[in-house]
Symmetry: C2
């Protein structure tokens, strides 16, 4: 049997998609990524979705469900339970890790006898950059 791929060594296609997402300033949709990687030999959606699903499994990226886009996971935290803050204005997505918050969500679930496995929080609003731009315009 072939050795299971370690996280240190991603498959070529998976690595290409991961790099592309990491190098993008804003989160990317699957077909957007597909276009970007067409020169590298990506042809069909299924190729892209395979790589994306692998990266999701590994926890290296998040999917912003409300926008159908993908964003690299901020590596600085371990428990990949985080708040994704989506800026309506510029489209950027920031990740706010908060372990105690994760505990609280699980606790609320348990109050209702719900055994939670994973969860996602998506915030909509305006990021700090866009807020300061608005303030400057008002001056």
């Amino acid at each position: 049997m072939r050795a299971k791929q370690s996280v240190k060594q991603l498959n070529p296609r998976v690595q290409q998609v991961y790099d592309c997402i990491k190098n993008s300033p804003t989160p990317q949709g699957a077909y957007n990524l597909l276009d970007k990687l067409r020169p590298e030999g990506f042809r069909a959606p299924s190729q892209m979705y395979r790589a994306l699903n692998r990266l999701l499994e590994l926890g290296l990226i998040h999917k912003v469900e409300s926008l159908n886009v993908f964003v690299a996971c901020d590596q600085s935290h371990q428990s990949c339970v985080s708040i994704l803050a989506v800026c309506d204005s510029c489209g950027s997505v920031e990740e706010f890790p908060s372990p105690e918050f994760a505990d609280q969500v699980k606790a609320i679930g348990l109050e209702h006898s719900f055994e939670s496995r994973e969860f996602a929080v998506e915030l909509k609003g305006r990021c700090s950059d866009c807020t300061s731009i608005v303030h400057e315009l008002k001056e």
Copy 2:
């Protein structure tokens, strides 16, 4: 100008969709609802999405973004900021309102200078019913 529709009196098509969602034990997709309401004269997706978007605006339903399905909002709470707990096993969605939780999420946003407007929390796991069934099977 036509009077703005009050919440007490929904338009016929909107009301039909709302009733259909409320009467469904599990959350429904748009095309699923469309099939159910075909006998009532619904023909095209755009008819359904118009009604769904109206209900979302009014806060009468939620969209479960990770599943692309719609669920009636639990009327018992006002500040429609809630946790949606999706059961992997039976597909049911429960709503856990928690106002203090909402404040906490906003606070985490503000710590990062993010002005949040709205947000959604989706929990994945196993509901109390399915958990007890599993326990019974183990006996």
